[in-house]
């Protein structure tokens, strides 16, 4: 047992740290650090900078721009990227659809999509959830009927993040409604968002953010060559993808940044005879959160160190379950530090510092983190069944 990094790992970390400290323009990273919303152009340009250096999709196969890194090196890449407040490469491209195409796609599909996906020349959105298929994803109803060399797709997707930015959607569609099990009869299709019959309607979220959408599909003609894998075998792609989605939940540097921000702000806020940072209750709250953060970080390292085999580790359910709660706890902490100014909705409309009104948005917006990517209840069921055997 040795928890220190080796000399080579330290050298790797230092290389990442110095790269990320200058790679992406400071003004973009300042926005990330402040929790402000990025524009589409900022997200694209920052991923393209990473991709130009071979650092946008390290988890992909080497032949398609990936890096032959150990799990520890991949972890250090994520950690340093987040520490520098560099925007994460777009998860739909790099963690979700990219690996699926690399694993299940034909050579032609790989040539066509992977380089453009890594470089964010194509912006992908995820067409999985439907009004009647949330946690119970396999109940999806969007129908695709084969007509010669096309699929005719009809149905509705929802909670589609960034569909309003997206060029393409990867979608689960039902191709065989009579299959004996609902997981069978599902296919994995790539749909051009400019196709006739695709309508995107934004859904305003509780914090006013416009990041998710409904996507209506009316007689959308999708060329059969856009099928990934076999007909009716889409659930295998979905399971592969969801495994990557859950494994990818490690945002400890974001938590650390919020805690540091809370302490810094608290030192300026009068409380009792001194400031909020002197307050015993506040300090205890910080100490608890920092301890949980550290326990989660070490648990994440256990997953990383144990993942040499390449199999997904069921403990990653734990990281999602507790990590998402910790995220929410830190957004609530900042909300409390901001005090009455947290109720001001529009940053800049008063003399209050910009960060204070943003805390309520961040708090409200983060309620999603225990819901998406497998809700906390789903994670508990996974732990109970696949780890505890219940």
């Amino acid at each position: 047992m040795r928890l220190q990094l080796t000399d080579e790992q330290e050298a790797f970390r230092d290389r990442m740290r110095s790269f990320f400290s200058i790679a992406v323009p400071q003004e973009i990273r300042d926005k990330v650090a402040a929790g402000a919303e990025l524009s589409r152009e900022e997200i694209v340009s920052s991923q393209q900078i990473l991709n130009a250096h071979g650092l946008a999709v390290p988890q992909w196969p080497v032949a398609w721009g990936g890096q032959d890194w150990t799990p520890v090196e991949r972890h250090l890449w994520t950690d340093e990227l987040q520490r520098s407040a560099t925007p994460m490469p777009l998860v739909f491209n790099t963690s979700l659809v990219g690996p699926v195409i690399a694993e299940f796609g034909t050579e032609e599909q790989k040539q066509r999509f992977l380089p453009a996906t890594a470089n964010l020349d194509i912006w992908w959105c995820q067409g999985f959830s439907e009004p009647e298929a949330g946690s119970d994803l396999a109940s999806l109803r969007t129908r695709a009927v084969r007509e010669d060399d096309h699929y005719i797709v009809n149905g509705q997707k929802t909670w589609t993040t960034y569909a309003h930015y997206a060029d393409w959607m990867f979608a689960l569609v039902r191709t065989d409604p009579d299959a004996p099990r609902k997981q069978q009869g599902i296919s994995f299709l790539l749909i051009d968002m400019t196709s006739p019959g695709v309508t995107v309607r934004p859904i305003e979220l509780l914090d006013g953010a416009k990041e998710v959408n409904e996507v209506f599909l009316d007689d959308v003609r999708v060329p059969a060559e856009n099928l990934i894998g076999e007909d009716n075998q889409g659930w295998a792609c979905a399971k592969f993808l969801l495994g990557n989605e859950r494994g990818g939940f490690a945002m400890s540097q974001v938590v650390r940044r919020r805690l540091a921000q809370a302490k810094q702000a608290a030192a300026e806020i009068p409380c009792g005879g001194g400031n909020l940072l002197d307050d015993q209750l506040f300090r205890a709250r910080i100490a608890e959160l920092e301890t949980t953060a550290q326990a989660l970080e070490v648990t994440g390292l256990r997953v990383v160190a144990g993942s040499q085999s390449g199999r997904p580790n069921p403990i990653s359910s734990l990281l999602k379950l507790r990590g998402s709660q910790l995220h929410q706890d830190t957004t609530q902490l900042l909300l409390d530090v901001a005090g009455p100014d947290a109720r001001l909705f529009e940053p800049g409309s008063t003399s209050a510092p910009d960060w204070a009104p943003r805390t309520a948005r961040t708090y409200l917006n983060n309620r999603k983190s225990t819901i998406y990517g497998g809700s906390s209840e789903v994670q508990r069921s996974i732990i109970a069944s696949s780890i505890l055997g219940l």
Binding site: M1, R2, T6, A284, I286, R302, A305, L390
Partner: protein, 371 residues
């Protein structure tokens, strides 16, 4: 970065697991032992000495194994799984570590070798009535009387002092510094009031009335030495708690599968399986900080912040896991005939030994500052 045990450490774990399985295969066996006057098994103790378990952290020149914190945690996790009542930490590891750090070579050989051989046992008499972690106001007096030192004062609680042959005692010198002293437990002027704990351990209140004592160290750094000893001991106990939590979680999971109510197994009720998932989360997060604290000690780093974080996480988890295990067992959970209640007792005790969860939270809170 590597969380795996070495082949030697895995072999140690298997050996220790077998040793405990021989003695504590059932709760009846274990209760039969813990209800004796001594409260633990002398035959297990002799075997532990023979296989080197007692000498794990000590130098080979004293008959020890020259192993380290990782090996101690491995052994203590196994002890926790079966609720082994033997006072490894209290009677050997902690006092032995203090002797090996504080005493001169002649004293070390004389005192540590018989501990390792299983011939004698020691106890660390530090806490005094009313003192709370971190105990830094020792009132027991050490007075020079001719060529000897005499101790006067009262120590309570002193874990494992009921059966100790050798006492390591902290006392205040006339110069106002704290010293460590070795006292023969059979000395004239020393009274022992033996007590039992709710988790079926033993100890004693010690009353010293001009008891002759042998100085081990009278240095300003005694406080640091005690802090270091406590950090080693509490980390070992964190590992014991992780073992106990793992075992009681498994016990609960097995019960949920086996117990039928309303014509179905309890495991069909999501209210219960989701709570079991929360128990698993608590155990694994506690395990992570215990591993980190253990690995730090193995690297020679004595980090009070890390040690307190582990104590906080383990303390919170211990109470949650122990209480949930009892609750989810229903009536059988609150009997002494069934193991769940014994696990709750032990986990409750650990979360209040070497500082309570609140004590460690207070310590961590006092150190919070801007980065």
């Amino acid at each position: 970065m590597d969380f795996d045990l070495s082949p030697e450490q895995l072999a140690l774990r298997a050996t220790v697991r077998d040793l405990f399985a021989d003695h504590y295969d059932s709760i009846e066996q274990r209760n039969a032992v813990s209800s004796t006057d001594l409260g633990w098994s002398e035959s297990l103790w002799r075997q532990a000495a023979t296989m080197g378990l007692l000498g794990l952290p000590f130098d080979e020149e004293y008959g020890g194994m020259g192993a380290g914190p990782v090996e101690i945690s491995v052994a203590m996790e196994e002890a926790g799984r079966v609720l082994a009542p033997e006072p490894f930490v209290e009677a050997v590891y902690l006092p032995g570590m203090l002797i090996s750090r504080a005493a001169n070579p002649e004293q070390r050989k004389r005192m540590i070798a018989p501990l390792v051989a299983g011939d004698t046992r020691a106890a660390f008499a530090h806490d005094e009535p009313g003192s709370r972690w971190p105990t830094n106001r020792v009132q027991t007096q050490a007075k020079q009387d001719g060529d000897q030192v005499l101790l006067t004062g009262r120590k309570r609680p002193v874990a494992a002092a009921d059966s100790a042959d050798l006492l390591i005692v902290s006392a205040l010198t006339t110069e106002g510094t704290t010293g460590l002293y070795a006292v023969d437990a059979g000395s004239a002027g020393l009274q022992r009031h033996v007590y039992r704990t709710h988790d079926e351990r033993r100890g004693a209140e010690l009353v010293f009335d001009q008891v002759p004592a042998e100085p081990l160290a009278e240095r300003a750094e005694v406080t640091a030495l005690v802090t270091e000893g406590y950090i080693c001991a509490q980390t070992a106990q964190c590992a014991e708690a992780v073992g106990a939590m793992r075992a009681v979680l498994q016990l609960t999971v097995d019960y949920l599968k086996a117990r039928q109510q309303f014509g179905v197994p309890l495991s069909t009720f999501q209210a219960l399986t989701h709570r079991a998932a929360d128990m698993y989360e608590a155990v694994e997060l506690a395990n992570s900080l215990t591993l980190q604290a253990t690995a730090a000690l193995a690297d020679g780093i004595v980090d009070p912040v890390l040690a307190s974080r582990a104590k906080l996480q383990v303390g919170r988890a211990s109470v949650f896991v122990g209480e949930q295990a009892v609750q989810m067992h229903g009536g059988i959970g609150i009997t002494r005939e069934y193991p769940a209640s014994h696990f709750l007792s032990r986990l409750t005790a650990i979360s209040r030994t070497f500082g309570s969860t609140d004590d460690h939270l207070r310590h961590l809170a006092s150190l919070v500052g801007t980065d």
